[in-house]
Amino acid sequence: MSRNYDNRERDFDSEDEGMPAGRPAERDRRGGGRGGRFRRRKVCRFCVDKVDIIDFKDVKLLQNFIPERGKILPRRISGVCTAHQRMLAEAIKRARNIALLPYTAD
């Protein structure tokens, strides 16, 4: 499972989205494992785009936040801010209900 998220992180990396900036200790630990690559602080992409409503019908957008398994991507990986993560989670759950997104995927 954690491997999924690792994949995801690498994806984000290649898309130039930056890396998570947790507490300093955490950052050091994570940095140590990955050969001292430079990591930027993540910014919430919804805040950057000034998104106020996350529509549950926007499958293309929501798909970015569900890894293969179909789970909701934690914000420590994606860098989404708390408020937007809440809206995002709600939208994903609505989309699941109406069969736009899977509850589980294998």
Binding site: K50, D52, I53, F56, K57, R94, R96, N97, I98, A99, L100, L101, P102, Y103
Partner: protein
């Protein structure tokens, strides 16, 4: 109820229903809403789509979207009808007026903020302070 509520209703129709049956069904449902005193502000067939999982042994469905303005009573009736109908595989109603109002407010606040600081430069952008305190900004830069 002083103010009307706005709802978004999405429902999935069985792909086995013919085009005319589909229009008849949507017309029917629309009639129910208007009978109950609601108004349909948007009615859109989003089209045939693969379902993310099987619903009643179906893999595909036609998605239809209604945007309804009303008191909430017409929603109850509409949902009851959709539950009974064999052609409607699933439906989802979301109240959107509150979220939209909130979004409007945030938008207005952003506009106000932007108007307040027309000369905001890179130095003061991160601090979230008024442009008037440019002197303190400078000193902060020196420290950093």
């Amino acid at each position: 109820m002083a103010e009307n509520r706005v709802y978004e209703v999405v429902f999935i129709v069985d792909t086995d229903t013919s085009d005319e049956d589909l229009t008849r069904l949507t017309e029917n449902l629309r009639g129910i809403v208007t009978d109950q005193g609601g108004t349909i502000t948007k009615s859109e067939v989003m089209g045939r789509r693969q379902l993310a999982y099987k619903v009643g042994r179906k893999n595909e469905g036609v998605y239809v979207l209604f945007e309804i303005e009303g008191t909430g009573r017409e929603i109850a009736e509409l949902e009851r009808r959709m539950r009974v109908s064999d052609q409607v595989l699933r439906y989802l109603t979301v109240r959107v007026d509150e979220d939209r109002r909130r979004a409007e407010k945030l938008k207005a606040r952003r506009a106000r903020k932007a108007a307040k600081r027309p000369f905001a430069n890179a130095a003061s952008a991160g601090g979230g302070r008024a442009a008037a305190s440019s002197a303190s900004n400078e000193s902060r830069d020196n420290e950093a």
